[in-house]
Symmetry: D2
Subunit: 338 residues, 4 copies
Amino acid sequence: MQYITFDEKRPMDLVLLGRVAVDFNPVDYFHPLAECTTFKKYVGGSPANIAVGVSRHGLKAGFFARVSDDQFGDFVTDFFKKEGIDVTKIRRCEHGEKIGLTFTEILSPTESSILMYRNCIADLQLDPADIDEEYIKNTKAILISGTSLAASPSREAALKAVMLAKKNGTVIIFDIDYRPYNWVSEDEISIYYSLVAKESDIIMGSREEFNLTERLIEEGRSDEESAAAWHKEQAKIVIIKHGKEGSTAYTNDGNRYSIKPFPVTALKSFGGGDGYGSGFLYGLFEGWEMIDCLEFGSAEAAMMVASHSCSEDLPGPDEVHAFIKESKEKYGEMIARA
Amino acid sequence: MQYITFDEKRPMDLVLLGRVAVDFNPVDYFHPLAECTTFKKYVGGSPANIAVGVSRHGLKAGFFARVSDDQFGDFVTDFFKKEGIDVTKIRRCEHGEKIGLTFTEILSPTESSILMYRNCIADLQLDPADIDEEYIKNTKAILISGTSLAASPSREAALKAVMLAKKNGTVIIFDIDYRPYNWVSEDEISIYYSLVAKESDIIMGSREEFNLTERLIEEGRSDEESAAAWHKEQAKIVIIKHGKEGSTAYTNDGNRYSIKPFPVTALKSFGGGDGYGSGFLYGLFEGWEMIDCLEFGSAEAAMMVASHSCSEDLPGPDEVHAFIKESKEKYGEMIARA
Amino acid sequence: MQYITFDEKRPMDLVLLGRVAVDFNPVDYFHPLAECTTFKKYVGGSPANIAVGVSRHGLKAGFFARVSDDQFGDFVTDFFKKEGIDVTKIRRCEHGEKIGLTFTEILSPTESSILMYRNCIADLQLDPADIDEEYIKNTKAILISGTSLAASPSREAALKAVMLAKKNGTVIIFDIDYRPYNWVSEDEISIYYSLVAKESDIIMGSREEFNLTERLIEEGRSDEESAAAWHKEQAKIVIIKHGKEGSTAYTNDGNRYSIKPFPVTALKSFGGGDGYGSGFLYGLFEGWEMIDCLEFGSAEAAMMVASHSCSEDLPGPDEVHAFIKESKEKYGEMIARA
Amino acid sequence: MQYITFDEKRPMDLVLLGRVAVDFNPVDYFHPLAECTTFKKYVGGSPANIAVGVSRHGLKAGFFARVSDDQFGDFVTDFFKKEGIDVTKIRRCEHGEKIGLTFTEILSPTESSILMYRNCIADLQLDPADIDEEYIKNTKAILISGTSLAASPSREAALKAVMLAKKNGTVIIFDIDYRPYNWVSEDEISIYYSLVAKESDIIMGSREEFNLTERLIEEGRSDEESAAAWHKEQAKIVIIKHGKEGSTAYTNDGNRYSIKPFPVTALKSFGGGDGYGSGFLYGLFEGWEMIDCLEFGSAEAAMMVASHSCSEDLPGPDEVHAFIKESKEKYGEMIARA
């Protein structure tokens, strides 16, 4: 069943709004960050990774962002261009703000942490004036990354984008994508997450992220209660993730579809979510059944936790299909299906 | 007909959220401010004036605010206490922020301007942590002054209050109360005004203020279109003001009620709105017919533009009734009715 | 004896650098500020008062300052013009900064306090780029008010003015004028006060102000030790004040000259210092003996603590001479001489 | 001849004040930074490099600094400890400020540029309260890096250190070390550089750096005029550098000593200055003749421009002596002597 209808006449498939960053991942990993000596540089930032992911699957993506007016700004813009992402709405910062950096500490396949440079940062300079109504009118869907809500003026840029998407019938996807950095208080998180969630057609997040969102509305909801509450607003699909336990998509016809992770030898414990998002959204745009969208997302997630980067290693659809086929041959047809 | 039902079991009638300020009005008015030599000091700020107004009519009012930790903070708190307003939720600033000042320039009865001190100002320090759910649960209604939305953290405090009011069945009144100061852009104004307007039971503002609110949703609405749009959200009563042309309350049963100003010799062109608000809300709490609420508000507005202060000169109900009686005897029964 | 030689060819006598403010003094004084209802508005701020004072004595004064771009900016500029002060180097603020306000609380003739509005304030926006070398080259002396050192960019504007004064042989007068507001730490105070004191020809301050200045150099100096230390730098005259005990000018020839206050019925405990400064500097420019400069300053101080304002009531030289004559007839020739 | 006398009873040789940073140098250099994929991480920042350099020569060094409270703060502190540098006065930041990052772009041996992360940066949080008088009393010399003067509170920490060094007879070394980042205006640069230069026993900088320092005092000075002017203040040694043309030490007995660069195959065009500083100061502490100090500094500079890092590759004295010996054997005894 189709829960979301995209306006096929629109030239752009997905416009993302949020941070583009640069990741530095240690080459000599499985050591504390202080001891790592050599790093590989990659484009990073959750919505940036999803943009790359869906583009590699053939969708036409665009991006609302601010990046630094320096060599790293060049780097991410050039990379996006090379991937076929439309960069006409990516603007340079004017007051020396730098692009966010993420240094990853990979202690073991399951223990990771990140050291983020996010003070006076480029992505949070996204300005309401950067948000172009025509651009939103020409895209089938817009994805709001929750991190964009952490501070002004990016916060207002995101809220404006939501208002204009609603006005123009553009599908709104909210990827909660919580990062503790930049937020001032838990009240702020609940206020702004819930404001966007109320207007969204699709909401994606972990149980913890839904808890943060609902804190001022009703504490202690179960997944079913959360899904039901957001369905009463605008949501058609509510995806709640439980890490290694898998995730479930609750649809506004009362159905639920669950998926488990594919078995894989992980290198790092991050990057999976962006693979999941790319794969799931690709399936949705293709008009697949919900369970197939989820399976494709789960497979792409597994491929990404086994990779060194969160962007450069994103697969094309054939590779994901091949990975699924191979996994099923190895572990059985129902390997990821709950 | 009753458009709003108040929960009579709640001890507090109206909690206001927003700025408390100090007004300095020239004694030697009808001169440019630079030339005025002597000033009278009054409590001021639109929601503060309405709090005083409704208290003088016998309602039990409370206030969420931050005031300066100095003699002017003492002044406004003492004045509120004397008026019977609950000040337990009025907190002092902790980082030297000062209470807002308004120096009024009264060039003639129709030409006024104001010089505001609103940099690093106390009222905009209202913090989400100051917003107490129990307090909101115990009041029949909460009035949000739009000025509180102009900057963080007051902005989030107001949004939190709206969320908690909704959660607890407290009537939400939105007094748009636009002041250009402190706002960063027109986009911000439309974003935050419309967010609060969407959740409000009663919205009060001038045509210009509704235009600011609706700018990102739909430009160029007529009064009827504005009212209809907000009725589709939560609003039961939408009051749109046109200055000397009078104002109209649009109710969610499709009715409209219009009132004109009472004739009066004005001293200054401000202070009327707060009198209007106090009188109108008093009538509403009394359960009067809509047109009687409006007439009472209009009468109180007329009394205030003829007075030197916006707070100290606010009348009790007997005085307003007397003024209406006298005006009708002088000008006819229908003097203010459109 | 002449301790300071002024370059008589220069058209301007004294350029002051620092704050111009607006004072609001209660008309119904001898009550707590919170209870005062009516206020008189005056030009204020120590260097502004001295500028008015010396102008009324016939000196040609100029001013480096930033004032607000509003009616209060007009007020002070108009007042300065009327007094004959050159206002060509007084610029308006460009980012909404307001002119400082001082509300005075006069509890009794000896108990006063002030409530200052000094957040995001105009005078501290004075920019190094505002400091014009030609202007400094054309004035006999420049007076730096210590308050200008409290924050950037005014701090750097003052330091630049000192550097250019030194380069151009302009006499440097440092009026320490300590106000606790805006300073971040005692270390900062000592650092910047001592930097300017080292370059100054005349230093004026209370014992407490010298202690603040010398804190990082040597604590616990006596007046004689302070004077000797600054004489080893550039100072020719070091004036140290002890309130009601009187004050002493230490000159770099090893002499000292002491003066006591004139008896007077005080209205308020501030404003005296600016009268003292105006009178003393006038005598100095006239080439008087040191003790006569001090007597004239002390007399003018006495006249000012008996007045309601700190600016408008500043006397002309004839009035000061008359006051001295009258006091000596009443109390004896040596009334103020230690 | 000995131009500087160190107090041999003091346990610490050199305390440095300024930035500690982390350098990321591309492994795949000789490409634009945007295209470089792999980076080596090193301790960096000019005074940090000099601290490492002199420690490797056997001097006892300490450091006043603020570093980030994260894994990079651990990295630099651990590295310093391993090098024998006293880290008891290196404090962690308390408000999330991050350690400065320098990404180097090495296009060719002569074309380099840097991309710096210096917004809300750790080193500029050095606070006057961090500056411990006992520590300064126990060191023979203190080196102030000019970058520490770029913003408050580090600026005031540096000025306080200079005041306390002067009070306690500690030799003051000023390494101008100009970085455009963080400075607000050229006026500020001249004001603060000249304030520190006036109090310094040794001043080291390029011609351009002396021009920046002297801009508000006298423009267009020759090297001889600059040296003479600073000798009239406190300076005993003034070193003015002219890049590949070599550098000259002007001593306050009217002598001058010049040195040229050693021939070397450069890898990058930075890092030389810190080697020069380490080597020169080492010679000075050893009591060598001026020309020998310079030669040793020049040799160490040459070794550093041929190395990948600016810290890890710093040599010990034997290596520098060997380099000099080898160079002289190859190119002649006078190879670096002008």
